[in-house]
Amino acid sequence: MEIKVQKRVLEANETMAEKNRKLFAEKKVFVLNMMSSPGSGKTETLCKTLLRIMPEIRTGVIVGDICTTNDADRLKETGAVAVQINTDQFGGDCHLAAHLIERTATQMDLDHLDLLIVENIGNLVCPAEFDIGEDARTVVLSVTEGEDKPLKYPLMFRLADSAILNKIDLLPYLDYNAKEAVDNMAEIHPGMPVFSLSAKTEEGFEPWIEWLTSKVNSKI
């Protein structure tokens, strides 16, 4: 006996993501999902970004990690509201799912936020699969990773709205072909803006800040 099911496995997550999206629309909060592999410099990029955009853009951050509150602690030093989600309580998940964002975001004062950044768990595979109700996605790649990362993790780069190539201050010391990395991103996602910058020295930061600011302003 065959029973037709035709049910999408991620449907529960997608339903919750839509609910989140509606809430964020009501509250006029722009939500950015930031993703990368571990160690690409997401937190440092965010710290420097927050220092430039606040207090004009009132920003909150949800930080996902399997363990530790290290990243949230660093982000709080900028004056932003930062909340850590540790997924070890949920079986050590390798990504943030929509229900975790719902649980955390509804405890934040969304009426007083213009921008909510979700710093996803460092992983180029799973976070790409899970819609959390965000408005845009940014993927961070650093020049200490292979130029072919976009080709190896196509979904992540395919679904991103912008990309950051971080740690360009290290280029003089590395045998790294930054053009090849950017070209590979263009192969996966033609037309996607790529911001080459250094979170450490803040070289190349302006175009990234302009992109982010214009996105946030488009929702206010």
């Binding site: 037709k4 099911v5 999408r8 496995v9 529960a12 079986g91 033609p190």
Partner: protein, 115 residues
């Protein structure tokens, strides 16, 4: 990496789909549609399903997986093609705006109960 979570969802969906009036149901086959872009490793999924279906009506279930190609359409020239490698650029006009038509599926299409 998240195959265990996917497997758990599949078990939940399958169990919910079995009519209540069937006594001691046993699911023999689960027909799945999985897109090549869905980041699901088939071997891992099979392993996870084997582990978590133990002592459930799905124990020993045969997973029949239909793999769905990644299909794309160019928004500029309308060309449709199957994306074989990692690159998504339109092979026709080489332009940028590409729409994904398939490849992200992760679905249970049906289940077959043992007689």
């Amino acid at each position: 990496m998240h195959e265990m979570g996917v497997a758990q969802q599949m078990v939940d969906i399958a169990l919910a789909a079995i009519p209540d009036d069937i006594e001691n149901p046993r699911v023999a086959v689960l027909n799945l549609r999985i897109g090549k872009l869905a980041a699901v490793v088939e071997d891992s999924l099979r392993f996870c399903m084997e582990v978590i279906t133990k002592d459930t009506p799905l124990e020993g279930v045969n997973l029949v997986i239909e793999t769905i190609d990644v299909r794309a359409r160019c928004k500029d020239c309308g060309h449709e093609w199957v994306v074989e490698g990692p690159a998504f650029r339109c092979p026709g006009c080489k332009q940028g705006a590409v729409e994904l038509l398939s490849g992200r599926e992760l679905e249970i299409s049906s289940l077959e109960l043992a007689d």
